[in-house]
Subunit: 307 residues, 2 copies
């Protein structure tokens, strides 16, 4: 095998009740990447389309993630990479995670899968740090594992793959504005009320239970964010109007995807998701803000080989 083409899915992190821990993967929305084996050690990024990103390995998320994995594997050869970005940089759908996920997943394919998906996530994090300034895996894990994932701990690093109820869809609305992850971090307080922390953790626990039992009512009750949304919603124009419409149109819950500006509405069934999409499109089409929107099944697989 000399060349491989990978699809790495977009992801929604945080999912309201699971700030910095929970995420899920989208179906058919994501980036593409070609990896080619080369005799020289290291990672060489030869082409990027769809976004203005550095080709220099040490400044590129995919480059750094790939290098971290190569160092661990101590290979005497390397890879050149072509990246086709379909996901907006800083759009809130795990664009940088998709790049990091694709490269570590792809290298592992070349080697016939010596590493577990959890190990791949660990090395992918080294790349994520280039984009966001800190190592985190709440987008990366679902992009690699697929479905819903939970980071239970960073030390030791542990990812739990959660079950995926069969009829879950998501509506994504992505305003064409910029919310820098750094700003979205800085707007959060260092401390929160203990009672809010408990309410949030009860909701996360309820959501996890709802995934195992396919209890859509419990999922809906649990999709709340009392810790982060109160601060970050101010960064996204028309957030309240969009949320009101999503809830009115029977979504299970609505919130900020990652650090925004994308927003997500989890829905039971595709028809509901499409109705929610119409209502959300209308909210923004009545404004001067450009958007794009998607309806997607939650994907039960993460990165995959497409040729």
């Amino acid at each position: 095998m000399q060349e491989i083409k990978i699809f790495s899915p977009a992801t929604v992190a945080n999912v309201n009740c699971g700030f910095d821990t929970l995420g899920f993967a989208l179906h058919d929305i994501g980036d593409e990447m070609i990896l080619r084996k080369i005799p020289e050690r290291g990672i060489k990024i030869v082409n990027i389309t769809g976004a203005d990103l550095p080709l220099e390995t040490s400044k590129n998320v995919a480059g750094v993630a790939g290098l971290a994995l190569l160092e661990h594997l101590n290979l005497d050869y390397g890879f050149e990479i072509e990246i086709k970005k379909n996901l907006r940089i800083g759009g809130g759908l795990g664009s940088s995670a998709a790049s990091a996920a694709g490269v570590v997943f792809g290298i592992n394919q070349f080697l016939k899968n010596p590493l577990s998906l959890e190990e791949l996530t660990y090395y992918g994090m080294k790349g994520e740090a280039v984009a966001s300034g800190n190592e985190h895996a709440d987008n990366l894990a679902p992009s690699i594992f697929g479905g819903f994932t939970l980071i239970t701990s960073y030390n030791p690093f542990h990812v739990v793959q959660l079950p995926l109820p069969s009829d879950l869809y998501v509506t994504i609305i992505q305003p064409h504005i910029e919310v820098k992850t750094k700003d979205a971090r800085e707007i959060l307080p260092e401390k929160v009320l203990l009672k809010d922390a408990i309410e949030q953790s009860g909701n996360l626990a309820g959501f996890i239970s709802g995934l195992y039992t396919e209890d859509y009512k419990l999922l809906a009750e649990s999709l709340k964010d009392v810790l982060v949304e109160p601060y970050r919603k101010s960064l996204i124009p028309l957030f309240k109007q969009a949320k009101d419409q999503a809830i009115k149109n029977n979504s299970l819950g609505f919130g900020i995807s990652g650090s925004g500006p994308s927003m997500f509405a989890l829905c039971k069934g595709e028809e509901t998701a499409k109705n929610v999409q119409k209502a959300l499109n209308k909210v923004y089409n009545d404004s001067e803000i450009n958007i794009n929107s998607y309806v997607s099944k939650i994907s039960d697989v993460g990165c995959k080989i497409i040729s």
Copy 2:
């Protein structure tokens, strides 16, 4: 049916990662209560053995819980109650919850179970408030439901019954000292670090997942308390020594039961639990603090009729 005898189990609340939300019921350790139908409306407490508690209905946990339920049901008759307390008041094993649980469970039996266990928990909380000053259900829910329970929300009130791995035992060590719930509350800060809140919620989510998948390793990794134990452990003499011994002897995790002073060690298998008990007994037997200790299976049922 004119008379019924109820067993209401002792419970462990908080369980490290689930402060104010998670709890479980013990097997064969608990209080007993006789309810007798009487023509007069209301609750009449005629006898309490094993503890010095008020017979006056409005000052007694069982009395207030029973009255709250009777008012809801609008019955034209009442109940007299005899209570045999086996659980130490303020011992950290849900003594007051057991009293409240027994009376609401018992009344529901007389009426052929019109109310769900969740509704019974709701009315039982009215009694709990007498003992602790606020309505909470983290002991009450497992005493009524059995097994592990999760309070996902108080408004709307919602209890989720969690699955119970087949080989879970608990070792309880109960020092004969007093820790007032009020003091244990007041020692906690109003605010906590956001990063600690996230770590704790990741652990709770991991624990819930571990219960569904019978993943004892994940249960062990998740049984941590970064929010509450750092403050409350100072209220319990020899806590650190006990914890060290419990971990050294292969318990899955060790922590404060409720607001203390009881402590619990969750264990895989009865033999491990007995070894942990020996080690914990030794820690306190070398001191001047009297204790009692138990090894118990986690009970898959809550309150039950014993005659």
